[in-house]
Amino acid sequence: MKFLDRMMEQRSRELAQRSSRRGLLKGLGSLLVGSAAIPLLPVARASAAGNPGQPVEEGDPSSCDYWRYCAIDGFLCDCCGGSANTCPPGTEMSPVTWIGTCLNPADGRNYVISYNDCCGKSSCGACLCQRDEGDRPPYRPDATNDINWCLGTSSAAYHCSTAIVVGVALEDS
């Protein structure tokens, strides 16, 4: 089940990174091995080394690990016919959403990320990710990914999530 693959990929990576309690990895089984084999593909942006003066970002927009997905919870539109910042054909992008910041390791800047959902079709089903950095419960709606953000769209059916760079965060705020 893809859900589990992705969920476990995320969970097992976190565990592998931060836990010395090997017992926790019991039960994750081959998923852990599988996830370790997933290569990180460069995105289309110029690499830092090759093109000085060009903006840079690196990583695979179809992987939960991609830097701008630091607080995403749902299916990656990149795996559904859209991209990290566009919706798949025939869906509707919700104008109402929530906003967070993620660190782009390629340039060391924090960016303001708008997590607009794409709506109007049933769950995309591919590339389910759950990352919750900076996520808050729904009593802080401006900072929560637990709400179905297909608000302000004609259909409340959730399809997938984008992560759109809408600004550069201030360094010390």
Binding site: W98, P141, D142, L151, G152, V166
Partner: protein
């Protein structure tokens, strides 16, 4: 930074930072970016990047200035829950409200706008509105009656 942005930044600075009647260009720029960032992080998700709103979220673009025509309207912008109960402190809330008014009002704002101060915000936000929709409708009706134009 455009001229308009610089003007807004100057206003933001003199309203929110004590003893800095006219900031340097760098300070102005910093104040503007801080207010814009705070708007993005706390407001933009629902109110949209340009204040246009969506669905049940009221439109601020080209409209929000009308509330500054009365003291009650001025308080309304602070007492709405998105402002009053936001995680921003008084100084930054004042700055972001001034930024919203100056950035989104268009010709709905009278020329004698007095920016919000942190102290003013601190007082007004103590009483968040509970029945916002009713209050807003009544407020706009009053403003409309007073100005003789349809708000």
């Amino acid at each position: 930074m455009t001229k308009v942005q610089a003007a807004i930044a100057a206003l933001l600075l003199c309203s929110c930072l004590p003893a800095s009647a006219s900031g340097t260009a760098a300070e102005n720029s910093r104040a503007y970016r801080q207010a814009h960032f705070d708007y993005q992080m706390n407001c933009q998700g629902c109110h949209a990047p340009d204040g246009a709103g969506a669905g049940s979220v009221p439109r601020m673009k080209g409209h929000v200035g009308v509330f500054l025509q009365s003291q009650q309207g001025r308080e309304y912008l602070v007492r709405v829950p998105g402002s009053a109960t936001s995680a921003l402190d008084d100084t930054r809330l004042a700055a972001v409200l001034n930024w919203i008014v100056l950035e989104f009002s268009g010709d709905s704002l009278a020329s004698d706008f007095q920016p919000y101060s942190a102290a003013e915000i601190g007082r007004m936000r103590q009483q968040p509105l509970n029945e916002v929709d009713d209050y807003r409708v009544e407020l706009l009706r009053t403003l409309s009656d007073a100005s003789g134009r349809n708000q």
